[in-house]
C-alpha cells in the first residue's frame, strides 16, 4: 500500500447510516435531504422513515435523494420508536445519525462527528445547532441537566455565534435534532425508549448511554440549522406536558433504587412548591402538568420497572459518577430565581405584602409595633435588594459556598482538614451543620449562603422581638425592634463582608433572652414554668454551640456578657439572682464545648487567632466614639449615630424599679462590649472583629431603649411636667433620628457592598491550569478572603487552594508546625535575609503570592488598609517572583520557581537526599532543593490524587503525618518526613496513588458527636414542650 492509499479518506471511512424520521413534512424536507446528500462523507447511506404521513413522502425523497431507502410505517409511533426501526433494518453500520426532518446539515457534519467520536472514544455525539433563519445565532451547543433531568442550555438561546463555544466538550445531553450514536451502543441500549414518543427521548438516550459507560460529546465544528417545527406541530402546552412526563420517566428509570430514595423526596418537594406557586399565580395548565407527570408515570410504573431491569444489566457507571456529570442544585429553581419563570410576578407579590402591612397598621391596635416591623422589613428588603437572589460577592468573610452537602459531609468525616496547609486536626462541626443545611435546601448552597448571611438580620430582629416580650408593651417592643434594626452594626457587617459579625448580630438577642430569663425581675406577660438549671443550660448551650460553630469566640463572649449583665445589676443594687447569668453562661459554655468535641480541643490547642473563626480578620482599631455609635463602616452618619445611645439612656433618667435596674444591666453589657471592642483593636490580643464584640452591646442598648418606653409608660405618670418629660421627648426624637442614616444608606441597595470581588479579579489566573498549587495571601486580617495566620502585629497570611479559596478554607487550622516554617520563610524575605522567597515557598505549592490592600477591588471603595511598604518592597525584590498587573488593590506575584503541592525530584544526589531527610534548617533545605516537577496535579484541592510518576523523590507539601499513603503500581511506598515538615517517598516509576487514611477512631468520635447533638436537640425540644 502506498502512502497515498493510506491517506485516502474513503478507505478509512466506516459505514454510517443517516436516519431521517418524518411525518407530514413541510417544504423543508427537500432542503434537509439535500444537505444530507451533500455530505462529503464517503460511506453514507440514508434511510427515511415515513411515520404514517397522510401523503407518502417517497416521491419527494426519490426526487432529491434517489439512492435513499424509504420505509413507510402504517401508524406513527413517535420519533423514538420510529427510529428504532433501524435496529431491524440495518446491518453493518458503524454509526447511526438520527435527524429530525427540519434540520439542514453543513456538508462536513458527518465527517466531523465521526472523526471526533473516534478521537474521543465517544458513544453519542451531536453538532452545534443554529437558528434556521439566522445561522449566526446559536440554538444549542449541547445541554446540561440537573439531578431531576431538567435541561440547562450551555449557551444563551439566540446568542451570536462568534465561535466562543467552539470547543469539543462533554455534555449531558445532545439535542435530538441531530444525534450520532455508535451502532453497537444503540443496540445495547435497545434503541430509544418506546414509551417516549416525542420530547425527552434525547435526554433518556444520553442518560442511559452514560450509565452504560459511554461519553456524550458536542462537536461544535459540526453545524446544523434547526427549524424546531415540532413544537408548532403539537402545541406548546402539549410539548411541556410531554417533556415533564418523560423527564420524570427518565429519572425514575436511570437512577438506582437507593439513589431514588434520596432524589424522589426532593423532586416531590420541588413539584409541591411548583404546584403551590402555580396555584397562587392561577396557572392551571402548569399545575396540571406538574400533577400529570407523576400520575402518568405511576400508571406506567410497570414499564419503568422493566426498563430499570434492562438498564441494570448494562450499567457500568454508578449514579454518583453520573451525578458528577450533572449540574448541582436545581435548574428549575435557578431559572425561577433568574426571573425566567415569573419575574413579573415579584412586584405584584410585594404589592400584596404592602397591602397587608397597611391593613395591619390601620386596623390593628398595636400600630407602633406594626410600623416598626414594617419599617424593619422595608429597610431589609430595600437595603439588600441587590443582594437578595444574587450571588453574594466573595468579600472578606463572605466565603463562596463552593462545596455540595455531600462534599461537606465527606470532609467532616475525613481525618484531614484542608484549610491552610492542611492538618490532621479535628474537623469543624460547621462542616456537618452546613451539610445539613445544604441538604435541607436540596443542595442549593448559594441559597444556604443567603440564608446564613442575610438571614442573620431578620433572625436578630425576631430575637429582639422575643427579648422584649416580658415588657408586655407593644410600643416598647416596637421601639426595641426599631433600634436594633437601625443600629449600623449589621449593615456595616454586610458592607465589609463580616459574616462573623452578622452571625453574632442574629444570635445576640436570643442569647440575652436566656440570660435575662435567669436573671429574673422582668415582669413578663405570663410567668413561664420554672426550668431546672440543667435544662436552661442545655438549651442555651445548644444555641451557643450553633453560633460557636461559626464564631468560636461566642463562648467566652457569652461569659463576658453575663459578667456585664451582673456588673450592671450590681450598680442597680439588690439583684435577686446575682450569679444566675454567670452560672448559666458557664453551664451553657460547657455544653457548647462538649458538643464541639473534638474540634473544641483542636481549637484550644491551636493558636488564639483561630478562635476568631470565620474570617479571622477585622480587628481594625476604632476610636471609642465610633464604637459607641456602632459605626464601624460606611453606613451611618456620625452625629446622628449618637441617637441610639441617647435613646437607650432615657431609661436611666426616667426609669424606676425593675426598669431602671434592667436599664443598668443593659448598659453594663454595652460597656462590656465597647471595652472588649476597644481592646480588640490591638491585633496582638487575637480578639475577633469589633462587630462581633459589639453585637451583644447593640442588643442590650436596643433593650434599654425599649425599657425607656416602658419607663415612659409606667414611671412618667407620677411626675409633673419637667425635665423628665423633656428627656422623654428627646428620647423619642432620638429614635426617629436614628432611622434617618440607615434609611438613606438603604437606598444603595447593597449597603455599599459591591458586586466585584477578588475572585473576579483573579478569574483570569484561575482559568490557567494551576493544578495542585496554592495561593499565599498577605494583608491586614480584614482584607484577607479567609481566616489567616498571624505574621506580625498588623498582618496575617493565609493560604487558599488554587487561586481563590472556598468555604472549607474559612476555618483556620493550627498555626504551628509547617505553618511556622512558612511564616519563617516570609519573615526571612521581609527581613532581607533572602531574595528567593519563591524558591522558599515552592515546596508548599505556593504558585501565587497576593498582597491585599483592600477586601474588594479598588473600584468598590472598600476601605484601604495598605500592606506595609516593607512587605511590598520585599515582594518587589524577590528574584523568583514575577509581578502581574491584575487589580490595583492586589499585588499579585507569580512564583517562577516550579511550585506544586506534589512534586517529584528526580536524580537527586545522595547528599541532596540526605539534606531532604535531615535538614539542619528547613529554609536552607528548601533553598538547596533542586527544582522538581509537579505531579499528581489532576485532583487539585483534594488530599487524594493519582497519576503516573517517574522515579525519584516525591514530596507532598502538606504537614508530615503518618496516615498519608502512596502506592505505585499497587505497592505501598515507605513514607518519611522531609524538609523538616513535609511528607516524602522514594518512588519508582509507575502509576501512583496518594491517599489519606482516616483513623477509625475519628469515625467513632464523629458518631459520638452526632449522638451528643441528637440527644441535646431531643432534650431541648422535650423541655420546651413540657414548658408549653
Amino acid at each position: 500500500m502506498t502512502a497515498t492509499d493510506e491517506l485516502d479518506p474513503t478507505a478509512l471511512a466506516l459505514p454510517v447510516v443517516a436516519v431521517v424520521v418524518t411525518r407530514d413534512p413541510g417544504d423543508w424536507l427537500e432542503e434537509c435531504l439535500a444537505s444530507i446528500g451533500a455530505q462529503d462523507y464517503p460511506d453514507l447511506s440514508v434511510l427515511v422513515i415515513d411515520a404514517a404521513s397522510e401523503e407518502p413522502v417517497l416521491p419527494r425523497v426519490a426526487e432529491v435523494l434517489p439512492a435513499a431507502f424509504v420505509r413507510r410505517l402504517d401508524v406513527n409511533p413517535g420519533f423514538g420508536p420510529a427510529t428504532n426501526e433501524v435496529l431491524g433494518m440495518v446491518e453493518g453500520a458503524a454509526f447511526y445519525v438520527f435527524c429530525h426532518d427540519d434540520v439542514v446539515l453543513d456538508p462536513t457534519v458527518i465527517w466531523a462527528l465521526v472523526e471526533e467520536a473516534f478521537r474521543s472514544n465517544a458513544g453519542v455525539v451531536g453538532p452545534k445547532l443554529v437558528m434556521w433563519d439566522d445561522p449566526s445565532r446559536l440554538l444549542d451547543v449541547g445541554m446540561a441537566a440537573d439531578k431531576g433531568g431538567v435541561l440547562m442550555p450551555m449557551v444563551e438561546r439566540g446568542e451570536l455565534d462568534q465561535e466562543q463555544h467552539d470547543s469539543v466538550r462533554d455534555v449531558f445531553v445532545v439535542p435530538g435534532a441531530v444525534t450520532m450514536v455508535r451502532s453497537d451502543l444503540f443496540a445495547t441500549l435497545g434503541g430509544f425508549d418506546t414509551g417516549i414518543e416525542i420530547f425527552g427521548e434525547d435526554l433518556d438516550l444520553c442518560w442511559r448511554a452514560q450509565v452504560a459507560g459511554a461519553r456524550v460529546l458536542v462537536v461544535p465544528a459540526a453545524r446544523a440549522r434547526h427549524r424546531e417545527g415540532l413544537v408548532d406541530r403539537v402545541g406548546p402546552d402539549q410539548a411541556a406536558l410531554l417533556r415533564n412526563r418523560h423527564r420524570l420517566r427518565t429519572v425514575l428509570t436511570c437512577y438506582r433504587t437507593y439513589h431514588l430514595l434520596w432524589i424522589i423526596p426532593q423532586l416531590l418537594f420541588l413539584s409541591f412548591a411548583e404546584l403551590l406557586y402555580t396555584v397562587m399565580t392561577g396557572s392551571r395548565p402548569h399545575a396540571h402538568r406538574v400533577v400529570n407527570a407523576w400520575w402518568w408515570n405511576w400508571q406506567h410504573r410497570g414499564e419503568i420497572r422493566a426498563r430499570r431491569r434492562v438498564l441494570k444489566a448494562i450499567r457500568r457507571f454508578p449514579d454518583r459518577e453520573v451525578r458528577k456529570l450533572q449540574v448541582g442544585g436545581s435548574a428549575r429553581i435557578t431559572r425561577f430565581v433568574r426571573g425566567e419563570l415569573a419575574a413579573s410576578k415579584l412586584g405584584e407579590e410585594l404589592e400584596d405584602l404592602s397591602g397587608e402591612l397597611e391593613d395591619m397598621v390601620r386596623h390593628r391596635p398595636r400600630k407602633l409595633a406594626a410600623v416598626a416591623w414594617g419599617l424593619a422589613a422595608l429597610l431589609f428588603v430595600v437595603g439588600t435588594r441587590s443582594l437578595l437572589f444574587h450571588r453574594i460577592p466573595s468579600v472578606a468573610g463572605f466565603a463562596p459556598f463552593d462545596q455540595s452537602p455531600v462534599d461537606l459531609l465527606r470532609q467532616y468525616l475525613s481525618g484531614w482538614q484542608p484549610a491552610g496547609l492542611g492538618s490532621a486536626a479535628a474537623q469543624p462541626t460547621a462542616f456537618a451543620l452546613l451539610a445539613l443545611g445544604g441538604s435541607v435546601l436540596l443542595g442549593h448552597m448559594g441559597m444556604l449562603q443567603q440564608v446564613l448571611v442575610l438571614g442573620a438580620i431578620p433572625a436578630g430582629a425576631v430575637g429582639m422581638w422575643r427579648l422584649t416580650r416580658p415588657l408586655d408593651s407593644p410600643n416598647a417592643r416596637g421601639v426595641g425592634l426599631l433600634l436594633y434594626t437601625v443600629v449600623p452594626l449589621p449593615w456595616n457587617c454586610v458592607a465589609h463582608g463580616n459574616w462573623a459579625g452578622l452571625i453574632l448580630y442574629g444570635a445576640a438577642p436570643w442569647l440575652l433572652t436566656a440570660l435575662a430569663e435567669v436573671a429574673g425581675e422582668l415582669p413578663g406577660d405570663e410567668a413561664p414554668r420554672e426550668r431546672p438549671f440543667w435544662a436552661a443550660a442545655l438549651a442555651l448551650g445548644l444555641l451557643l454551640a450553633c453560633v460557636a460553630a461559626f464564631v468560636p469566640l461566642a463562648v467566652p463572649l457569652l461569659l463576658a456578657v453575663a459578667v456585664g449583665l451582673t456588673a450592671g445589676g450590681l450598680i442597680g443594687g439588690r439583684p435577686n439572682r446575682l450569679l444566675g447569668p454567670i452560672s448559666l453562661a458557664a453551664g451553657a459554655s460547657v455544653v457548647a464545648v462538649v458538643l464541639h468535641l473534638p474540634w473544641a480541643v483542636a481549637l484550644a490547642l491551636g493558636d488564639r487567632w483561630s478562635w476568631a473563626g470565620v474570617a479571622a480578620g477585622g480587628v481594625r482599631a476604632f476610636p471609642a466614639s465610633d464604637l459607641l455609635r456602632f459605626e464601624t463602616g460606611p453606613v451611618g452618619i456620625s452625629w446622628l449615630g449618637w441617637s441610639i445611645p441617647l435613646a437607650a439612656s432615657v431609661v436611666l433618667v426616667l426609669g424606676r424599679s425593675w426598669r431602671l435596674r434592667w436599664g443598668l444591666r443593659c448598659w453594663g453589657v454595652a460597656l462590656m462590649s465597647w471595652t472588649l471592642a476597644l481592646l480588640g483593636g490591638h491585633h496582638a490580643l487575637g480578639l475577633p472583629p469589633a462587630e462581633v464584640l459589639l453585637a451583644p452591646g447593640a442588643a442590650a442598648l436596643a433593650l434599654a431603649g425599649a425599657l425607656g418606653v416602658s419607663a415612659f409608660e409606667l414611671d412618667l405618670r407620677g411626675f409633673r411636667f419637667g425635665w423628665r418629660q423633656v428627656a422623654s421627648i428627646v428620647g423619642g426624637v432620638a429614635v426617629v433620628l436614628a432611622i434617618l442614616p440607615i434609611a438613606l444608606d438603604a437606598l444603595d441597595g447593597a449597603w455599599h457592598l459591591r458586586a466585584a470581588d477578588h475572585a473576579g479579579s483573579l478569574g483570569p489566573l484561575a482559568a490557567q491550569p494551576v493544578g495542585g498549587a496554592r495561593t499565599l495571601w498577605i494583608g491586614a486580617p480584614e482584607t484577607l478572603p479567609i481566616a489567616g495566620f498571624h505574621l506580625d502585629d498588623d498582618l496575617d497570611f493565609a493560604l487558599t487552594t488554587d487561586t481563590f479559596g472556598g468555604v472549607l478554607d474559612r476555618w483556620a487550622t493550627s498555626g504551628k508546625g509547617a505553618i511556622d516554617v512558612l511564616r519563617q520563610s516570609i519573615l526571612a524575605a521581609e527581613s532581607g535575609s533572602t531574595d528567593q522567597l519563591g524558591t522558599l515557598v515552592a515546596p508548599f505549592g505556593v504558585k501565587y503570592i497576593v498582597l491585599v490592600d483592600r477586601a474588594a477591588p479598588e473600584r468598590t471603595d472598600e476601605t484601604l488598609i495598605p500592606v506595609p511598604a516593607d512587605i511590598d518592597d520585599m515582594a518587589e525584590h524577590q528574584l523568583d517572583l514575577r509581578k502581574l498587573e491584575v487589580e490595583p488593590a492586589l499585588g499579585v506575584f507569580q512564583n517562577v520557581a516550579p511550585a506544586s503541592v506534589r512534586t517529584l525530584h528526580a536524580g537527586l544526589s545522595p547528599a541532596a537526599v540526605a539534606q531532604l531527610d535531615s535538614p539542619k534548617d528547613p529554609l536552607a533545605a528548601a533553598l538547596a532543593l533542586p527544582a522538581g516537577s509537579p505531579v499528581l496535579t489532576a485532583q487539585a484541592g483534594r488530599p487524594e490524587a493519582s497519576g503516573r510518576v517517574g522515579a525519584g523523590e516525591l514530596v507532598v507539601g502538606s504537614p508530615a503525618d503518618d496516615r498519608w499513603r502512596v502506592t505505585v503500581d499497587g505497592k505501598a511506598q515507605s513514607r518519611r518526613e522531609v524538609l523538616g515538615w513535609a511528607n516524602g517517598w522514594a518512588v519508582p516509576a509507575g502509576a501512583a496513588s496518594l491517599t489519606y487514611e482516616t483513623s477509625p477512631v475519628r469515625l467513632l468520635v464523629v458518631l459520638l458527636q452526632v449522638l451528643a447533638w441528637v440527644a441535646a436537640v431531643v432534650l431541648v425540644v422535650r423541655g420546651w414542650r413540657r414548658r408549653r
Binding site: I571, S625, L628, T675, A869, H877, R882, A928
Partner: protein, 470 residues
C-alpha cells in the same frame, strides 16, 4: 447624691473613660530610606545576591570584564553565578565555591550581566573592566532599586558614556531617564518609557543621547519593576584627559557623602559633582580635611531641584594640591543629594587616569574590598578616615585565593579623630586578586585607590560595609 442619680453617673463616667482612653490611633508607619550604596548581607542571612551589570555594551564592547567574589566569613560559601546575556537574557549558570576569607575571580562572558547568588551572607562582589584606556573597578550592587542616580559623566567629543541597565527579575521593567547638564534638564524621548526586558541588560549610550555635554548627571526612575545601573565613562586622551571609569550608580540620595583621598599630586585636577534629584533646593556644604596643614574654609553651594553643580576643588583657593585630604559633602537643609568626586590625573604624572566615584554615605566598623591588585605593575593605596571624636583602632587583613591573613604591620593602627591615614598596600602584601577586610573599633570610611604603573589607569572605590559580627 441620691440612689437614682448614682447609677447614671457611674454609667456616664464609664462612657467618658472609654471616650478618653479610646481616641483614634494617630501613629503612622515609618519607612526606612534605602541604602544608597551596596552593603554585604549579614553572615547569618539565608542567601545573598549581587548584581553586576555588564560594562561591555554600546560603544564599549572592547573592554574585558571580570568579577571578584570575596567571602568575608569564616565558613565556606557556595553559590552560582548566573550570566545573563544582555541581548537575549539567556542564562548560563556557573556554580562556585569560595573558602573562608578567600577571593575568587571569574571572567565574564561577552556582554553578559552577572547575578551572583550565594548561600549565606558575608559575601562581597566587585567587577572590573579593562580596556585600552586602563582598568576600572566598581562595586556590584547588593540590591535592586526602582531609582538610580549618577552625579557625573561627560559626553564631550573625547568621551564615551554608557549606562548599563540590568533587569535581573522575571518581569519587565519600564524606566524613564533624565539627564541634568550644565544647560539644564533633558529627558530625551528615546529613553522615556524604555523597556528593560526581564533578565536582560540595556545599554544607553549617553554620548549619543545627550550630545556634547561637559557634565551629565543621570536619574533613572522605573515606572514598573526594579533594576541595577552602572555607568562606564571613557576618555580617549584626545583632549588631554584619558582613562576608564566604571561606577555603580547610587540607589538613593543621601544627606552626607564622605570621600577619603588616598593620593594626591600636584597634577591632580579634582572636584565634586553634586546632583540634587529632589524637587526641593539643596543647601550643600563641602568641607575638606587635609592630612597636613590647615583645613580650608568649607564651600557652601546651592543645588537647584533636579540639577547638578560642579565644584572644582580649587574653588575659592581652598584645597591645597599635592596633599591627601578627606572631604565631606553635606546637605545642610536635609535635602538628600548624590555626590561624586572627580579625580583627573594627567601625564606627566606617573599615575595618569580619570575617575569619578561615589562617596560613602555612612561610616562602618567593618568594611571589605573584593577586587584588588598589588602585583607587579599595579599599585594600591588604602585611605582610612575616622569621622568620629574617638580614636579608632584598625586591623587590616588580606584576602587572597588562599584565604584570609592578617597583615601584621597593619594591626592595631590608630586613626585619630577627624583624621585619615593612608597606606600603600604594595608595601605590605603582593597579591592579585587581593581582597581586604578592615575591622575598626569606631566607624570609619575607607577608600581604595588602584593605579597601573607606567600606564593609564586610575580607579577609586569605597569600602563595602559589612554587618557587625553577632
Amino acid at each position: 447624691m441620691n440612689r437614682t442619680v448614682l447609677p447614671v453617673v457611674v454609667v456616664a463616667a464609664a462612657c467618658a473613660v472609654l471616650l478618653l482612653v479610646g481616641g483614634a490611633d494617630g501613629s503612622s508607619p515609618t519607612t526606612v530610606p534605602p541604602d544608597p550604596v551596596p552593603h554585604a548581607d549579614p553572615a547569618g542571612a539565608l542567601t545573598s545576591s549581587w548584581f553586576c551589570p555588564s560594562p561591555q555594551g554600546g560603544p564599549a564592547t572592547d573592554v574585558a570584564a571580570t568579577i571578584d567574589i570575596a567571602n568575608t566569613t569564616s565558613a565556606p560559601r557556595t553559590g552560582t553565578v548566573r550570566w545573563l546575556a544582555a541581548a537575549t537574557g539567556t542564562a548560563t549558570v556557573a556554580p562556585f565555591s569560595v573558602g573562608p576569607g578567600a577571593v575568587l575571580t571569574v571572567a565574564a562572558p561577552p556582554a553578559s550581566s552577572a547575578l551572583v547568588q550565594s548561600t549565606g551572607g558575608g559575601v562581597v562582589v566587585e567587577q572590573s573592566a579593562a580596556g585600552t584606556t586602563g582598568r576600572a573597578v566598581a562595586h556590584c550592587a547588593s540590591d535592586t532599586s526602582p531609582t538610580w542616580y549618577t552625579a557625573n559623566g561627560s559626553t564631550l567629543v573625547d568621551a564615551t558614556e554608557v549606562l548599563s541597565l540590568f533587569n535581573p527579575f522575571p518581569s519587565d521593567a519600564v524606566v524613564d531617564i533624565e539627564f541634568s547638564t550644565e544647560e539644564g534638564r533633558e529627558a530625551p524621548g528615546a529613553v522615556q518609557g524604555l523597556v528593560i526586558p526581564a533578565g536582560r541588560t540595556t545599554f544607553v549610550d549617553a554620548t549619543a543621547t545627550v550630545r556634547r555635554q561637559q557634565v551629565t548627571a543621570a536619574a533613572v526612575r522605573a515606572r514598573t519593576g526594579q533594576l541595577v545601573v552602572t555607568r562606564l565613562q571613557r576618555f580617549d586622551g584626545s583632549a588631554g584627559r584619558a582613562g576608564l571609569s566604571l561606577t555603580l550608580a547610587a540607589r538613593a540620595a543621601a544627606v552626607q557623602w564622605t570621600f577619603p583621598n588616598a593620593a594626591s599630586t600636584a597634577a591632580d585636577v579634582t572636584g565634586w559633582q553634586v546632583f540634587n534629584p529632589d524637587t526641593r533646593e539643596a543647601e550643600v556644604t563641602i568641607a575638606s580635611f587635609p592630612t597636613s596643614g590647615d583645613a580650608p574654609e568649607p564651600i557652601d553651594i546651592t543645588v537647584p531641584p533636579r540639577s547638578q553643580v560642579t565644584v572644582p576643588a580649587a574653588r575659592d583657593g581652598g584645597v591645597p594640591t599635592g596633599v591627601p585630604f578627606t572631604s565631606t559633602v553635606t546637605s545642610s537643609n536635609e535635602v538628600p543629594v548624590v555626590a561624586e568626586r572627580l579625580v583627573d590625573v594627567r601625564a606627566p604624572d606617573t599615575h595618569p587616569g580619570w575617575t569619578s566615584v561615589l562617596g560613602s554615605p555612612a561610616p562602618a566598623r567593618r568594611l571589605a574590598f573584593a577586587a584588588g591588585d598589588t602585583s607587579a605593575g599595579a599599585e594600591q593605596w588604602l585611605a582610612i578616615f575616622n569621622p568620629g571624636q574617638t580614636p579608632a583602632k584598625v586591623d587590616i587583613s588580606s584576602m587572597t585565593a588562599a584565604g584570609r591573613a592578617p597583615i601584621a604591620a597593619l594591626q592595631g593602627v590608630v586613626v585619630p579623630p577627624s583624621s585619615q591615614v593612608v597606606f600603600r598596600m604594595n608595601d605590605y602584601v603582593q597579591a592579585a586578586p587581593l581582597g581586604l577586610e578592615i575591622d575598626a573599633t569606631e566607624p570609619v570610611v575607607v577608600d581604595r585607590t588602584m593605579t597601573t604603573i607606567g600606564a593609564t589607569g586610575l580607579s577609586i572605590t569605597a569600602g563595602v560595609p559589612l554587618a557587625d559580627p553577632g
